[in-house]
Amino acid sequence: MDKTIIEKLVKAVGRQGVLSTPEDLAVYSYDGTFSEGLPGVVVLPSTTDQVSAVVKIAAEACIPIVPRGMGSGLAAGSVPLPGGSIVLCLTRMNRILEIDTENAVVRLKAGVVTADLQAAVEQVGLFYPPDPSSIRHSTIGGNVACNAGGPRCLKYGVTGDYVMGLTVVLADGTILRTGQKTIKDVTGYDLNALFTGSEGTLGIVTEVLLRLVAKPSHAQTALAEFTSLDDASKTVNAILTAGIVPATLELLDQTALICVEEAMHLGLKTDIEAALLIETDGADLQAVQREIQEAGRISTENGARAVTVAQTEAERSSLWKARRSVSAALGRKAPNKLGEDITVPRSAIPSVVQKLREISAKYGLPIVIFGHAGDGNLHPNILFDRRDPDQWRRVEQMVAEEFEVSLAAGGTLSGEHGVGVLKQPYLEKALGPISIRLQRQIKQALDPQNIMNRGKIFPA
């Protein structure tokens, strides 16, 4: 990176906030995927004004900016592209500014870790439901930028359903504030929705105002074991059509169970083809218990070999620890994994699961299937070794077929990870030319120089 630019950045955020050694650049070259790309310089601002100053410097010199939180993304959205960009890392903007219990809202900086936010609001009896598996190692800014989901979204909705207001630094460095502490707002376009999920391509979210709900006082968690994966996927719909809305309804296949058990030693059964992790929650203990028993009964009717309800908080948290570790635990089986997050109408889950297994058989590489089956969001993970060019070629074909399966079933490419770089080749097919043209026009209007996370979502 040009020395004069670095000097300007140092002036804007201080020497402590500008990193440019080869070692620092190397560790900001990746996210939660296998993709890599060296940045030109890394900047860690502490305030919205500093972010604005950095964007102005970048805009003046037409240098791309790649916003980043803790780098847990699964679509290479925060991996720099070649050519020298500024990585803008927001982890140091990590203060919770206000918890307003009367209006049940929280205002915080983008770099707050989502689990820290949840712990803080739960202390005053409030609840922030979205729970991506990365809650402990992702930031709220990144969650908003990717419209993160998670298991609980089945009942409670995704990150975007909680965004009431944003502070956004636009591509010319001006600071936009959207929304306020009101539940309803139809004054003008819904800019909150526009920026949520925009993956940093339209502006940089530096501050967030979130809606909260009352903390459910009771939860019951059950694990249903199935000797047939098909039975498990059919059970998902059977439960949901019976009028029960569990907080979560998660599917784990055999490989996922084996990997987690090897990693965590939680006593999970590994001789079954699949398990469903079911949780019900609410304010009324009896209703919560009735629902979990009902879900258990339906599971048994549909072929579950056994259904176990967690009896203690420790048992419950160990089940969740298992679920949250699945993605990473797959690393035990192969040096690389490529996890997608296709989402289909839930009626299509049994047939999609079947087709994913066929793809795996056809190409001879394992596809591990787990995910938020209740909302149709599946995480097929292909396990492979990227150093083997033949394997990589097969992986590319498998991914293409996975997306075809999803689209053919009336589904979408991504439920919660975003497009980033990895899903770009399939974007046009998913959205169609008219939608693509309109979205490009929006991007052009907000970022005419194309410096905000250039080359993400849409190819550069």
Binding site: G71, C89, S134, R136, M264, S327, A328, L330, G331, R332
Partner: protein, 430 residues
């Protein structure tokens, strides 16, 4: 980087499958203070890999990232893939020492530290500093205020020095009180011998009271952890063999240490020497016998302590005990046996205190920030005593407490048990 081919380097499996999920960032004390990727386990694994694969030079800055790790093992414990970033960081220090050995490390870890006699000589000025009353004078004259901040903190860490080290006063054989049920070899660690002699004496008393004949060989050498921490893995082997041979001389049921760090290192000897045909079996047998004092006491029938300790007590998990040896319930249970003792759990009890051996000297800023987090948590407990079975943690906690002007006592859990045993007629010693 052909030069790496001739060295002992970490195996490919120690980094290859890191999928960069980032789970480890959540539990890393240095990441949570700096909030930069280079200070995270994932960052260190990436740097080590790139360094070993020749994609980055092993620059002083890269090696520094390996030294900035507290080796608390929170990441290694958590990683679902089974990567051990803390071990990798320490092993990278060895790579560097093979490339560019530091002369002072050979002298310090190869000559001075392994020999208790030499260490006792070297630390004599410290004992005189206290024994002759100079420390009191320094405090009375408020001379510490003219020390630089870091020296002041280090001075505060210094426990009350025994005038004579324990090795000089403890008999080789301490007979069991009453019937002998166990023959215990006591591994007297360097820090315990030099700085916490009273505590180790207490540990021996407690064991003797509970049917143990305690044998404390005088010729133990350093367990090897300091050398390993500074990248001299090669020196550890000689120290391990010396200790193994020494304890083989007595017929022992168990080998006990009251130092978390020594314990975790001694338990690793078996693994360390597994490829040395002459030593593999002996080292394995030795390591199998090693137990932390709280681990051992928790599994034998104990006489009920009659004395009371009417105080609110909390407990800090030493990394080398909680993660190094998976011992965490035992010391808590022992404390709860004491009448009057109000045990209160410390929030984030197993979060590193920032001591990590000598990080307060080498990485003062980070070590201090991590300590502040510990102190904030300690404040929440309202405890009057904090127990922890590790000399490094104890010194660090003491420095933090003194800095805040608190009166909280820092003790080894077994010292409290001893106090409850020794208190006459159940009277309160506090």
């Amino acid at each position: 980087m052909t030069e790496l081919n001739s060295l002992i380097v970490p195996e490919e499996s120690s980094y290859l499958n890191c999928i960069r999920c980032g789970l480890c960032l959540a539990v890393c004390p240095t990441y949570r203070e700096h909030l930069t990727e280079a200070a995270s386990p994932r960052g260190r694994v990436a740097l080590a890999r790139k360094g070993l694969e020749g994609k980055l030079d092993l620059t002083p800055n890269l090696i520094e990232q390996m030294y900035s790790c507290m080796a608390c093992m929170a990441c290694s414990d958590l990683c679902p893939v089974g990567i051990k970033p803390a071990d990798l960081a320490v092993d990278m220090r060895y790579v560097q020492e093979q490339r560019k050995p530091s002369v002072w490390k050979k002298a310090l870890f190869g000559w001075l530290i392994p020999k208790p006699g030499r260490m006792e000589g070297a630390t004599l000025p410290l004992r005189l500093y206290q024994g002759l009353g100079i420390r009191k004078l320094v405090y009375a004259l408020r001379l510490t205020s003219i020390f630089p901040r870091q020296i002041r903190d280090l001075e505060a860490m210094l426990p009350k020095q025994p005038t004579r080290t324990l090795r000089q006063t403890l008999p080789v054989v301490t007979p069991a009180r009453g019937k002998e049920n166990y023959r215990v070899g006591f591994f007297l660690g360097c820090a315990q011998n030099l700085m916490f002699a009273e505590e180790s004496a207490a540990a021996v008393r407690v064991m003797a009271r509970n049917g143990c004949t305690v044998i404390t060989p005088r010729q133990t050498v350093c367990c090897g952890m300091p050398a390993k921490g500074y990248g001299r893995h090669d020196l550890v082997l000689a120290q391990a063999k010396e200790n193994i041979a020494l304890f083989e001389k007595s017929d022992l049921t168990v080998i006990v240490t009251d130092c978390a760090t020594c314990g975790s290192t001694l338990k690793e000897y078996g693994d360390l020497l597994k490829n040395d045909p002459a030593w593999a079996e002996r080292a394995h047998a030795f390591s199998q016998k090693v137990k932390d004092v709280s681990e051992f006491l928790a599994q034998i029938p104990l006489e009920k302590p009659l004395g009371r300790i009417d105080a609110r007590v909390t407990y800090h998990d030493p990394c080398h005990l909680r993660r190094g040896q998976h011992v965490f319930q035992q010391p808590r249970n022992l404390l709860k046996q004491i009448d009057g003792l109000d045990f209160v759990e410390l929030p984030e009890a197993d979060w590193c205190c920032g001591s990590a051996g000598s990080q307060l000297i080498t990485h003062y800023e980070t070590s201090t920030k991590i300590l502040e987090r510990k102190m904030d948590n300690l404040q929440r407990t309202g405890a009057e005593i904090i127990a922890s079975g590790c000399p490094g943690c104890q010194m660090q906690l003491k420095a933090g407490i003194q800095k805040r002007g608190w009166k909280i006592q820092v003790v080894h859990p077994i010292a409290l048990l001893d106090q409850a045993y020794e208190a006459k007629n159940g009277q309160n010693d506090h």
